[in-house]
């Protein structure tokens, strides 16, 4: 019962990831694409945690935190790129 429920939820997360990919490819402006990447990576963070329960391998989950941290760094860098005249100021 547990595995079938988790299977359905995992497939939902895969479908939403593909929808974010559509926005990433289509997005007319740069902030749109960054937004899609943001949502995609938070989606995949949940997906990784679910998958480590489905595959019964707790060690696999340890990649969630670096993914979240680096995506936030990319957010900040894109907004700095758009806003400031130089990156270091």
């Amino acid at each position: 019962m547990l595995s079938s429920v988790l299977l359905i939820i995992t497939s939902i997360y895969v479908v939403t990831a593909l929808m974010y990919i559509i926005r990433l490819v289509k997005g007319p402006t740069i902030p749109d694409r960054v937004l899609a990447l943001d949502a995609l990576s938070f989606d995949l963070a949940v997906f990784l945690a679910l998958l480590s329960i489905i595959l019964e391998n707790p060690i696999l989950v340890s990649g969630v935190i670096p993914l979240v941290l680096w995506i936030h760094a990319i957010d900040i860098f894109v907004s700095k790129y758009l806003e400031a005249r130089e990156m270091g100021e």
Partner: protein, 86 residues
């Protein structure tokens, strides 16, 4: 659908998406958009390592592909391009 089939299916989806995005990166003219597509390709590529049961490589590939490479490319574009617009 059986639970055993799931990793195979996800591997197919991830490799298809990363190939799809790799072609679009080559065709893109705007450099910033190309970097953002590269980032998406990197995420799916590193997910492939996760599904092949190599969490070490996953933690190594996330900073390299998602973090440091786009960061250095952003710095370089900012250094070269804004002079042209001035």
């Amino acid at each position: 659908m059986n639970i055993v089939v799931l990793p195979y299916l996800l591997v197919i989806i991830c490799s298809l998406t990363s190939t799809f995005l790799a072609y679009l990166i080559v065709k893109e003219r705007n450099l910033v958009v190309a970097i953002l597509l590269l980032l998406g390709q990197g995420i799916f590529h590193s997910l492939l390592y996760y599904l092949l049961m190599a969490p070490d490589l996953f933690i190594t590939y996330i900073p390299v592909s998602v973090g440091i490479t786009p960061l250095l490319l952003f710095l370089l574009i900012k250094k070269t391009e804004w002079r042209e617009y001035d």
